[in-house]
Amino acid sequence: MTQGPETIQVDLPAHEPAQPLPPLSSPWLGRERLAGLSLIGLGLFALYASADLPFASESGVGSGLLPRALALILIALGFVQIAVTWSDKPESTGRWPVRDMLPVLIGVFLFAITIRGYQFGTFEIPALGMAVATPLATFLSGLAAKDMRIGELVVFSVILTVVCIGLFRYALGLSLPVAPWLIGY
């Protein structure tokens, strides 16, 4: 086996403990009860969604049997979850950083509708390909970082786009649209 160097001096990023949880917004609805309620909600929704499916079929197991059985189990588990954690002290679920997540979601959405184009009624987005969709997704999601630097992010988006096109389209040979409006594919 190769002998490693005796010592290496490096700068390492250190890990800091997470921030304390913010106080509970509602004294009753802690994380565990919310989890139980979510299960009940999901189960009820699945019951509603599968209401039109038949129970039985030629094989005995109709399309609706499994979904409805599972939905009922989920509802039951939701009640069990609430029951077993009833006496625990309610804990907060922490911060829900919707505003931080929004740029990422918008970036992903724009990627989806620009890469091969999309039609909303009369309004049509042309197929813009990876050359547009990739930097859009990268730049927008990069905006979500608190320590974001705009110049760095722009340069990075451009470099990453070039790398992605080179890697996925040319090196790996996937048939992805690069820039149909410019080079035809």
């Binding site: 990023p13 189990i73 679920t93 999601s141 990075f156």
Partner: protein, 501 residues
């Protein structure tokens, strides 16, 4: 025994072609990379690369994907030791004592022991796979639909018992996973289920979409919500290779970890995830000075690391011999095999022995490569740790988007994964584990299919699941495991294993 050696010989001949060595190396390298980088794991990576494997030959593709999986286990322990951030879920245990060792200036020793332990574990696990493959395959050939159904039920129950934290929540996640797999056209009648006439749901949810959404986008949302602060601190890595005495002191821990990992990994239901925790608990019990655990004991690194690696490798057994994926990565391997026209199951070993034994042998070669990739190149990986997250996650978003789009050249998949990312974030906030959800989803369709087949054969009699002795035994094991897990005394010791670690 002779047959095992013969098979390994065949495998080595396949794996030692220049092309396959190259694929193995690429896989290990990518695996180490994603293991080291926080916020991107093997599930998201393999999902992105799945469309790419279409143009490769089947053996090479599987060798590369397998390399990513066990390479990530190696890389994950590197970050666990150096910065106390477990790059992979299974490296959580390593972070405890490994990082304490790093603080004492023994980072190199911890890394070295982890690598040597993993290599020994990988070697033993390769032999275990080779030895178990033929008998397990024979067993698999005896399985009819009823037995398969019971086996999957057992796997799902074991996944609940072996999961972290609350049993109720783990069970709920499995059920929700199976429920999600019902969305889309019914396989038997073609009737659309729970789609609300939304066209992107009509073919059901692709597993890669679920995986990239929850494990790719979901991780990013999670890190944006609770950022891990990483400030620069000066530290010494120290010498990498242990002395003979240190090696002797850790040898027992390595072997025990390997044994635990090999056994737990074989269980259908992702036993591998429990292996490092079990090894930590065992070493602590056997130690003369259990009070030192948590303050940098080498055995608390070498044992769990070996267990982790052995488990990662033997979890290929249920997939390769029975066709039942025990975790999300193995489910993606099913996808990779299906793309190549290979149906996973007991017939693989007979129809394509080259692929089967080549893949097994490549794991040993890969483990050897990983020692070389990890130890001398540790400086390079440390530099990678300094890549700021503000640039890392936009890149992950871009890669995921491209990977998602290339599944079926459809932007709708990208949007669906974005929604799945929100689901994943909600799961994290409510402290639901996503792993059982993924497993339930993966096995869901197969479960319904086998249930129907079994009931057609038995003319609708539910008795078929208990009259077949094999099926009855599997269901009994599942029932027993569940009963034991809810017993108050067992619940206490189960919690101890997870909280001690």
């Amino acid at each position: 025994m002779m047959a095992v050696l013969e098979h390994l010989g065949l495998g080595l001949a396949v794996a030692f072609t220049l092309q396959n060595i190259l694929f193995c190396f690429i896989g290990c390298l990518i695996g180490t990379l994603v293991g080291v980088l926080p916020g991107v794991g093997p599930v998201a990576t393999i999902s992105i690369l799945l469309p790419v494997t279409l143009s490769l030959d089947p053996t090479g593709a599987l060798i590369m994907l397998a390399g990513i999986y066990y390479g990530a286990q190696y890389g994950g322990s590197t970050t666990a030791i150096l910065v106390n951030i477990p790059g992979e879920a299974t490296a959580v245990v390593t972070a405890i004592d490994g990082h304490e060792m790093a603080k004492k200036g023994q980072a190199g020793l911890a890394l070295g022991l982890a690598a040597i332990g993993s290599f020994i574990a990988g070697t033993v696990a390769t032999v275990v796979i080779a030895a178990l493959a033929t008998p397990m395959t024979r067993l698999g050939l005896l399985f009819g639909p009823a037995e398969y159904f019971s086996l999957m039920i057992m796997g799902l129950v074991l996944a609940v018992v072996l999961a972290h934290g609350s049993l109720v929540k783990a069970l709920a996640m499995i059920v929700a996973g199976v429920l999600l797999s019902c969305v889309g056209a019914d396989m038997e009648t073609g009737r659309e289920r729970m789609t609300f006439d939304i066209y992107m749901l009509s073919d059901g949810i692709e597993f890669t979409v679920l995986a990239m959404g929850i494990f790719g986008f979901g991780e990013i949302f999670k890190n944006l919500a609770d950022p891990e602060k990483r400030d620069v601190m000066r530290n010494r890595i120290g010498r990498l290779l242990p002395t003979l005495r240190e090696l002797r002191e850790n040898f027992g821990a390595i072997l025990r970890g390997t044994g635990l990992g090999s056994v737990l990994g074989v269980l259908p239901g992702n036993g591998a995830i429990l292996a490092p925790f079990a090894s930590y608990a065992l070493e602590k019990r056997l130690s003369d000075r259990p009070q030192d655990f948590g303050s940098g004991v080498p055995q608390a690194v070498s044992g769990p690391e070996s267990a982790n690696n052995a488990g990662a490798q033997t979890s290929f057994i249920p997939l390769l011999t029975l066709g039942i994926p025990p975790n999300a990565v193995m489910a993606l391997m099913v996808g990779a095999m299906m793309i190549q026209g290979i149906v996973p199951g007991p017939q693989v070993i007979q129809n394509s022995p080259d692929l089967f034994w080549g893949l097994v042998a490549s794991m040993w070669i890969g483990n050897l490569m990983l020692v070389v990739i990890n130890l001398p190149l540790i400086g390079l990986w440390v530099k990678l740790l300094k890549v700021p997250y503000r640039l890392l996650f936009p890149a992950i978003v871009a890669f995921c988007c491209i990977g998602l789009f290339s599944i079926s050249n459809d932007g709708a998949q990208v949007i669906m994964a974005g929604i799945m990312g929100l689901v994943g974030f909600a799961l994290y906030k409510l402290q639901f584990e996503p792993a059982p959800l993924a497993l339930g989803f993966v096995l869901g369709r197969l479960l319904e299919e086998k249930l129907r087949q079994a009931l057609i054969i038995s003319d609708g009699g539910m008795g078929t699941f208990v009259t077949s002795p094999l099926s009855a035994a599997l269901l009994l094991i599942a029932l027993g495991a569940l009963a034991v897990a809810v017993l108050p005394s067992m619940r206490k010791s189960r919690e101890e294993i997870f909280t001690e670690a």
